[in-house]
C-alpha cells in the first residue's frame, strides 16, 4: 500500500501563502461556529428585550410597587405580583429542601455504594424520570398524588406536626404541597444525576488516601467526597431551583389557583409561572396582558440570577480546588 509514497524528503521551499483550500476551510469553520455562538447570545438579548417591551405598559403604570403589591383583580385591573412571588418562593424552596438530600443520597448510592451491575440500570431509570412530560406528571398529580396528599399525607402531617405553621389549616387535594411534591419529582432526576457524575469525578487516589488512613466509607464521603464536590453540588441545586421556579404546566395543574400569602402548604396558591399559564390565553385587557408579561419579566430576572450564581460558584470553587488558598 505504501509503494507510491516517495522516499525522498521534499526539498521545495515552504509556500509563501497558505493554500486556498486550507484558508477557506478554516474561515468557514470559524464563521459557522462563531455565528452559532453569537446567535445564542443575540437570542437571549432579543427575548429579554421583547419581554420588557411588552411589559412596559404595566411597568410604567404600576412601577416597582407591582412587585410588592398583593392581589390579582381582573375586574378592576389591579395587579400585584407579591402573592405569586411568595407562591413561587415557597414551593421552590420546599421542593429544594426535599430534593437536595434525596439527590445527594441517590448520587452517593449510585456512585459509591450500589452493586456495580445495578448502578447503570438504576441511574438510567432515575434519569428516565426526567423524561416524563410535565403535563403528564401534572395529570398524575391531579389523579393520584393529589388525592393521596389530601386524604392521607396532609391529615397525618397535621396530626403530628400541626404546630408547625407549614402544616396548619385543612387538607385539600390541590394546593402548595402537591405542587411541591411534583416539583421535587421534576428536580430530583436532574440534580441526582449531576451529583452522581460529580461524585464519580472525585479522583480515586483521594478516596484511597482516605480509606488508607482507616476511614470508613461514611467518613470518606463526609471528609473527602462532599468537600471536593461542594461547588458542583451547590451549582446542581441551583440549577434544580431554576427548573422549579420556571415550571408552569404541572404546577398549574395541581396548585389550585389560590391567592393570598399563607405559611400553610395545605392551601391552594399560585406561582409566577402558573399564573401566566392560567391566564394568558383568556386575558381580557391590554393592561392585564402587560401585567402578565411583567410577571414573565420578573421570572426571567430570577432565572438569570440563579443561573449566574451557579456559574459564579462553579468558577470560584474550581479555582480553589486547583490551588489558590
Amino acid at each position: 500500500m505504501s509503494a507510491r509514497v516517495s522516499a525522498v524528503p521534499s526539498t521545495q521551499p515552504l509556500p509563501e501563502r497558505r493554500r486556498i483550500g486550507d484558508r477557506f476551510g478554516d474561515l468557514f469553520l470559524h464563521g459557522l461556529t462563531g455565528a452559532a455562538a453569537a446567535a445564542a447570545a443575540v437570542l437571549l438579548g432579543a427575548i429579554a428585550w421583547k419581554i420588557f417591551q411588552l411589559a412596559w405598559p404595566a411597568i410604567t403604570k404600576y412601577g416597582f410597587a407591582f412587585v410588592t403589591r398583593q392581589g390579582w383583580d381582573t375586574v378592576h385591573n389591579k395587579f400585584g405580583a407579591l402573592d405569586l412571588i411568595w407562591g413561587t418562593a415557597l414551593t421552590s424552596f420546599a421542593a429544594l429542601l426535599i430534593a437536595t438530600p434525596l439527590s445527594i443520597a441517590i448520587g452517593l448510592y449510585l456512585s459509591e455504594l450500589a452493586p456495580r451491575g445495578a448502578r447503570t440500570v438504576i441511574a438510567s431509570l432515575v434519569e428516565l424520570l426526567a423524561a416524563i412530560p410535565s403535563v403528564v406528571l401534572g395529570l398524575w398529580g391531579i389523579l393520584v398524588l393529589g388525592p393521596f396528599v389530601g386524604q392521607d399525607l396532609e391529615p397525618w402531617l397535621h396530626r403530628h406536626l400541626g404546630f408547625i405553621p407549614l402544616f396548619s389549616g385543612s387538607p385539600e387535594n390541590a394546593g402548595m404541597l402537591v405542587a411541591v411534591l411534583v416539583l421535587t419529582i421534576m428536580i430530583v432526576p436532574i440534580t441526582s444525576s449531576i451529583c452522581r457524575e460529580l461524585f464519580l469525578g472525585v479522583p480515586t487516589e483521594l478516596e484511597q488516601g482516605a480509606l488508607a488512613l482507616g476511614a470508613t466509607r461514611w467518613e470518606m464521603v463526609r471528609g473527602v467526597i462532599l468537600p471536593y464536590t461542594r461547588s458542583g453540588v451547590s451549582a446542581a441545586i441551583l440549577l434544580g431551583f431554576g427548573r422549579a421556579v420556571g415550571e408552569a404546566i404541572a404546577v398549574t395543574q395541581v396548585i389550585g389557583a389560590g391567592h393570598g400569602i399563607h405559611w400553610s402548604l395545605f392551601v391552594t396558591g399560585d406561582t409566577l409561572a402558573s399564573k401566566l399559564a392560567e391566564q394568558y390565553q383568556g386575558a381580557v385587557s391590554n393592561i392585564q396582558i402587560a401585567s402578565l408579561v411583567y410577571l414573565a419579566a420578573i421570572l426571567l430576572v430570577i432565572s438569570l440570577l440563579v443561573n449566574l450564581t451557579a456559574l459564579f460558584i462553579v468558577r470560584r470553587f474550581s479555582h480553589e480546588r486547583i490551588g489558590g488558598s
Binding site: L206, Q208, G209, L211, L213, G214, P227, Y228, G323, S325
Partner: protein, 283 residues
C-alpha cells in the same frame, strides 16, 4: 545532604548496616504471608507468596513491571478489597492474626497499617487539615496541634510549612506533597507504613529526602516499600524481596523469587533470575 544519596544514577551502592547485624531469629515478625495468591477475576496477579516482614526494618519489594509487587503490597492492608474483582487466597498473618479472617474489619486493619501512594494525593484541604483529618476521624483529637507538629516534624516538613499551615496543600511542590502524605500516614500512629513507589513521581532531590526520611522512620515504624528503582532499594532497605513475572500459557503471574538481606540480594543472589535483574541483564 549526603553525597551518596544525591547520586541517583551511580552504580549500586548498598546500605551499610547501621547496627550490628542481627540474626533473623531475634527479629519480631510483623507480617507473615502463607501461600498468598491475589487474582483479578480469574487471572492471578501474584501467586503463592510466603514472606515474613520484620519489625523496625525497611523491607523493599523489587521486580519488573507486572510482577505483582504493588498487588502484594496492597494485600497487606486490604486495599485490594476496593477492586471488586480482586480475590485473595492464602493467609496474611499480622502479628499472628489473619487479616482476611472472618470478622476482621478492613477499616481496623488500615488504621494500623498506613499507606503512601505512588502519586502524592493530598486532600483538597489546608496543610494542617490534611494531617489533622485522619486524627479527627480516628478520635485522636486531644492535643491536635502538637500531634500535627510532631507528624510534620517526623516527615521532615515542619520547617518548610510551619508558616503556612492554613494554606492549601496544593501549593506545595510534588516532593513536599509526598512528605505531607507521609506525615498524614504517620500522624495516626500506625504500626506499619506501606509505600507504593513513593518517589517515582519525584525529582532526584525530593527522592533523596524521602529516602533519608525512611532511615529515620524505621526507628518507630515498620516500613515496606515497593520500588522499581534498584538503587533505591539498595540504599534504603534492610531486607529485599525480588519478584518476577512467571510467564504461562494464559499470560503470567508474579512470583517471589528470592528474599534475603539486601546486601546478599545485590551481591550474592542465590537465584540466576535475581542476579540477572540486579545486574541489569534482565530482558
Amino acid at each position: 545532604m549526603e553525597a551518596d544519596t544525591m547520586n541517583v544514577v551511580a552504580p549500586i551502592e548498598i546500605a551499610q548496616p547501621r547496627e550490628a547485624p542481627r540474626s533473623a531469629s531475634d527479629l519480631e515478625i510483623v507480617f507473615e504471608t502463607r501461600g498468598l495468591t491475589v487474582s483479578y477475576g480469574k487471572a492471578p496477579a501474584v501467586s503463592d507468596v510466603d514472606l515474613s516482614i520484620y519489625r523496625n526494618l525497611v523491607t523493599a519489594i523489587i521486580g519488573p513491571s507486572g510482577c505483582g509487587k504493588s498487588t502484594f503490597l496492597r494485600s497487606l492492608n486490604r486495599m485490594n478489597d476496593l477492586v471488586p474483582s480482586a480475590k485473595v487466597e492464602g493467609e496474611v498473618l499480622y502479628h499472628g492474626q489473619n487479616i482476611y479472617g472472618d470478622g476482621v474489619d478492613p477499616v481496623e486493619v488500615r488504621r494500623r497499617i498506613g499507606m503512601v501512594f505512588q502519586k502524592p494525593n493530598p486532600f483538597p484541604k489546608s496543610i494542617y487539615d490534611n494531617v489533622a483529618w485522619g486524627l479527627r476521624v480516628l478520635g485522636m483529637k486531644d492535643d491536635l496541634d502538637s500531634r500535627v507538629e510532631r507528624a510534620l516534624t517526623q516527615a521532615a516538613l515542619w520547617d518548610e510549612v510551619k508558616d503556612r499551615l492554613k494554606k492549601s496543600a496544593f501549593g506545595l511542590s510534588g516532593g513536599q506533597q509526598q512528605r505531607l502524605c507521609i506525615a498524614r500516614a504517620i500522624a495516626v500512629e500506625p504500626d506499619v507504613v506501606l509505600l507504593d513507589e513513593p518517589a517515582s513521581a519525584l525529582d532526584p532531590i525530593a527522592t533523596s529526602k524521602i529516602e533519608d526520611l525512611m532511615h529515620e522512620l524505621k526507628n518507630e515504624y515498620t516500613l515496606v516499600i515497593v520500588t522499581h528503582n534498584m538503587q533505591q532499594a539498595a540504599r534504603v532497605a534492610d531486607m529485599t524481596a525480588f519478584f518476577t513475572l512467571e510467564r504461562t500459557e494464559s499470560g503470567g503471574h508474579g512470583v517471589l523469587v528470592e528474599y534475603d538481606e539486601t546486601p546478599k540480594i545485590f551481591t550474592q543472589p542465590a537465584d540466576k533470575r535475581t542476579e540477572g535483574y540486579v545486574t541489569g541483564r534482565f530482558g
